[in-house]
Symmetry: C2
DNA sequence: ACACGGGCTGTTATCTTGTAACATTGCGCC
DNA sequence: GGCGCAATGTTACAAGATAACAGCCCGTGT
């Protein structure tokens, strides 16, 4: 794995995941949405938690907890691992971010609000990771579990390979 | 997580995963199959690697690398983390075991021989983990990737919840 | 016989990821 | 004012994984 503080993958830190886009808008939208959701649920999106959410949203690449920590520490000297993990746990609990299990890293959720497990396409080249919502895939997962009378609670679906840009 | 050396989940160490079965046969079958596969590919299933495979197969529960190490060390005093990880890497490379990403643990492959990513049902109660092969699910995954022109290489599918026995 | 080379294992040290446990702060409420 | 709770601070450590180099064994070519 990359050294602490270094980007996990090549490409600009402002990572333009799918195609060029105004990533500032992505972040703003995500933060606005998060504030709305937390207000509606009457849970506290504290400045610390919001800052962590912002850091996770810096790119469309999953970011490691210790990378978040390094970044957070720039503005928040008392930051320690538990600081970050608590914030990440909160954000996951509210469905605002996802953990990418195969990378031990975290990614902003593009479908925040509705509780869901998430399905991901992870480019091994550029690191960009896209969350997809595919009802057929969802149905196939449910069917597979049902077939053996397994009561599904959480589903991890992470497909790694090459994104359209990198394959070209 | 459980202390090193302790079982990750309750239940007997001889873990009878799905229903009661003669687990000795499972192990024997897996080892025999592994020997055949390695012989056919002209790669070396050394005593060390075979021992690690055997340990992973002790139950139908995913086993952590350090649990493997503890067990291995009983008969192999020089065992160290690299010893275990090298063996696990070899076994994964040959498709004889899988890594369960959401648990950072390893599980014997019941479909050894054909290269595949594996799809798993993980019981959070008893820990028993079943590998399933579901062509429809496989197709749904491929479709989902194809839809956005993503070139899939490795697929992680891990569904956690309650197995039929534990749900009852 | 012997040098070489590759594959496997030994060995030490370290890095990365994640938690336990207890202390402190701030704020609403009675 | 004191209580209780949620959030954060702080110290220490557990758990998972790898880097880097050393040594061994065995087959091959000369």
């Amino acid at each position: 794995m990359a050294a602490r503080g270094a980007a996990q993958n090549k490409g600009p830190a402002t990572a333009q995941a799918h195609q060029s886009h105004n990533h500032r808008e992505c972040i703003d939208d995500a933060l606005t949405r998060a504030r709305e959701i937390c207000a509606a649920r009457d849970v506290q999106l504290t400045p610390l938690r919001e800052k962590v959410l912002q850091i996770v949203w810096r790119s469309h690449k999953p970011v490691g907890a210790y990378d978040v920590l390094d970044e957070l520490a720039r503005s928040h000297k008392s930051a320690r691992p538990p600081t970050v993990y608590r914030a990440l746990d909160f954000l996951m609990g509210e469905g605002l971010i996802h953990k990418i299990e195969s990378l031990n890293a975290y990614l902003g959720c593009t479908e925040a609000g509705a509780p869901h497990s998430g399905q991901f396409l992870i480019c091994r080249q550029c690191g960009a990771t896209e969350e997809i919502v595919d009802p057929k895939l969802e149905a196939a997962l449910d069917q597979a579990a049902k077939r053996v009378h397994f009561s599904a609670e959480h589903k991890v679906v992470e497909i790694s390979g090459l994104c359209a840009r990198c394959a070209a």
